[in-house]
């Protein structure tokens, strides 16, 4: 049982305000991921939860206890660092045992826990080695093991996979997910990689410039981003944006830009109506664009000139020019298409996003 709640959390370093009014409830056993570009305040927030960074204003609670002034050792948390921070002069076994020894556990209990953690992570054969004799992936496991043996209330992860090569990272990501299912400990995970955030998180917090942009389940962020930043940050390849003007055409709102004229469908139209005559940003994900067929209503179709064709095997990414905007579309890998081809494309109307040009909030 452990809930973590952040209430109006602020952090200032001298004059720079790096974390602004963060409010967040992390539920028991939840895997919460903080994601955002570097310098967005996600790591600072994590370090404040860990007690490594003083809180400027606000409150952090673990369960119902305010921990603002509680030193890291008494918060009952474990943290996995980006550079693993294994104690270089100790064997793997001593690394795992250190936290337990500091807490004066019985020798037999320490041994039991080390063996248990080692078998979970498959590092039994490495226990007598020194950290420098381990590969990156093995070090990562030891760092995880050091957190597991403690059986803490909360796991904190600070970009734990970013020092691994791409293949290993994918593998460890899966293992982390399995591990969380097995241990069911409340976890807070910081990453700048939106794929990690989407795959690992029960819920994801997107941050930018110290401000929480949106909190939600991965699909919620993907389907209904709260603003343009979240829309562009979540999903790969990134969402296409085009600057448009909202005009009225035959009683229906239409998003218009040079070379582009897209009808605004259904519910979105109701909300867009209030913004007629204003500038807006149209957003559509590459995977929601396809070659136009007879079934597509003409108001959702547009013409594009292909500039670059990226054949990925499972799909083709087309870098295209649409009027004055540049867009990427993900199309069937069997499509025969070459650069400079002119295509007629259509988008899925229910997947269309509109953002206010000024506030960048979703319309």
């Amino acid at each position: 049982m452990a809930e973590v709640s952040l209430h109006k959390l602020n952090k200032k370093f001298d004059t720079t305000h790096v974390v602004k009014d963060v409010d967040l409830q992390i539920r028991d056993k939840e895997f919460m991921v903080f994601v955002g570009p570097s310098g967005c305040g996600k790591t600072t927030t994590l370090r404040m939860i860990a007690g490594l960074e003083a809180i400027t204003t606000g409150e952090i609670r673990i369960d119902d206890r305010v921990v603002n002034e509680v030193p890291p050792m008494d918060r009952d948390i474990a943290m996995v660092f980006q550079n693993y921070a294994l104690y270089p002069h100790m064997s793997v076994a001593s690394n795992l045992a250190f936290g337990l020894k500091m807490r004066k556990f019985e020798k037999a209990e320490i041994e039991k826990r080390i063996n248990n953690a080692a078998s979970i992570l498959g590092i039994e054969s490495l226990l007598q080695r020194k950290p420098r004799q381990l590969s990156g992936g093995q070090r990562q496991r030891v760092a995880l093991g050091r957190a597991i043996v403690r059986d803490p209330k909360v796991f904190l992860f600070d970009e734990p996979l970013s020092n691994l090569d791409a293949k290993l990272r994918v593998q460890m990501r899966v293992e982390l997910k399995k591990l969380h299912e097995r241990l069911a400990v409340t976890s807070v995970y910081v990453t700048h990689d939106q794929v990690e955030a989407m795959t690992l998180g029960d819920r994801v917090v997107v941050m930018k410039d110290g401000v929480v942009q949106q909190v939600g389940e991965p699909l919620e962020l993907y389907n209904t981003p709260a603003n343009r930043f979240v829309a562009g940050f979540i999903g790969s390849p990134a969402m296409n944006f085009a600057d448009v003007t909202l005009v009225e055409n035959g009683g229906k709102p239409v998003a218009e830009a040079p070379g582009l004229r897209i009808g605004v469908p259904g519910e979105l139209a109701t909300r867009a109506r209030a913004k007629i005559g204003r500038k807006a940003t149209l957003g559509i994900r590459p995977e929601d664009i396809h070659l136009a067929t007879a079934a597509d209503a003409p108001e959702y179709c547009f013409e594009a000139v292909v500039e670059v064709v990226e054949q990925l095997g499972s799909e083709i990414l087309l870098d295209m020019r649409v009027g004055s905007a540049v867009m990427v579309a993900s199309v069937e890998p069997t499509l025969r298409v070459r650069a400079h081809d002119k295509l007629k494309l259509a988008l899925k109307p229910e997947r269309l996003h509109l953002f206010d040009a000024e506030s960048e909030a979703s319309i």
């Binding site: 490594l52 550079n83 294994l86 270089p88 002069h89």
Partner: protein, 283 residues
């Protein structure tokens, strides 16, 4: 290694290296030869027919025996050893703690204080001995080993602090943060994690501090006067140079024997020492 033609390797690598090693080792070689050369050969004029400056065919131990029988050399060695060891321990203890504090505890003016400590190291001993002599006299420590044990740290502590500060800064701070999350207080994290990791740095500052106090001359010359209190550098030069007469044989024998402990200390810890100076901490 220099790549390319053989002559390049000789011109840019081998020859400079040989010259460098020669310049460094020749005085040492001269010292050894002189130590074992009998007096009859030592004072031969350079144009004598059997003059052989770089070798001797009649090696002798008379100079070394002279040192131990006619002077207090053994006593000087003990004095030097005692003084160097105690002042090194004091300086290391203070230097490690101060270096840690300056590197890791964020207190106001830590940077300025670090610089101030370094500046005290820059004040030349040839000036500092004058006020220090007054202090030594007031505390009535003159002509005792404590005169040196308490004054050597005045330049050893800044030195150790500065070296250790650099070394501690090179240790990733996550190590300590991790230890503190693991349940260690700041003190325990320092004792169990940071100090063991900093051992190469501590050893190198210890070795340098030991060498500096072993070789120190000015303070020892000023603060010690009776023959049985002296250290090796002062004893050898004051007892074996009388007026303008240099007793070259015993003088060189004293220098040779006096440099052996330092050489032993260096060779024992050479690996750690190099790691300490290049500051390599691997996680």
């Amino acid at each position: 290694m220099i790549e390319g033609a053989l002559w390049r390797r000789w011109v840019f690598y081998n020859i400079p290296l040989i010259l460098f090693v020669f310049v460094l080792l020749f005085p040492f070689y001269w010292m050894i030869v002189t130590t074992f050369r009998p007096d009859g050969e030592l004072y031969l004029p350079w144009n004598a027919p059997n003059y052989m400056p770089f070798w001797t065919n009649n090696p002798t131990f008379e100079h070394i025996l002279y040192l131990f029988e006619e002077t207090n050399f053994a006593r000087w060695m003990l004095n030097t050893m005692f003084i160097a060891l105690v002042s090194t321990v004091i300086s290391l203890f203070c230097g490690v703690l101060a270096g840690y504090a300056l590197a890791r505890l964020n207190f106001p003016y830590a940077g300025g204080m670090g610089t101030a400590i370094f500046i005290t190291y820059l004040v030349p001993q040839t000036l500092l001995f004058i006020p220090l002599a007054e202090i030594i006299r007031n505390f009535q420590l003159g002509d005792t080993p404590w005169a040196l044990i308490l004054t050597y740290p005045t330049f050893l502590i800044p030195f150790c602090t500065w070296l250790m500060m650099g070394y501690f800064k090179a240790i990733p701070k996550e190590l300590e943060e991790c230890a503190r999350i693991d349940g260690a207080s700041r003190w325990k994290a320092m004792v169990y994690i940071i100090i063991p990791v900093a051992v190469p740095g501590i050893l190198s500052s210890g070795i340098i501090a030991f060498t500096l106090s072993w070789n120190e001359f000015i303070y020892a010359l000023v603060f010690l006067s009776s023959p049985d209190q002296k250290t090796v550098p002062v004893g050898v030069t004051s007892e074996l140079i009388r007026g303008d007469v240099f007793f070259w044989g015993p003088l060189m024998a004293g220098a040779l024997l006096g440099s052996i402990p330092v050489a032993i200390v260096y060779s024992f810890f050479v690996e750690h020492y190099v790691a300490g100076l290049t500051g390599s901490v691997k996680g």
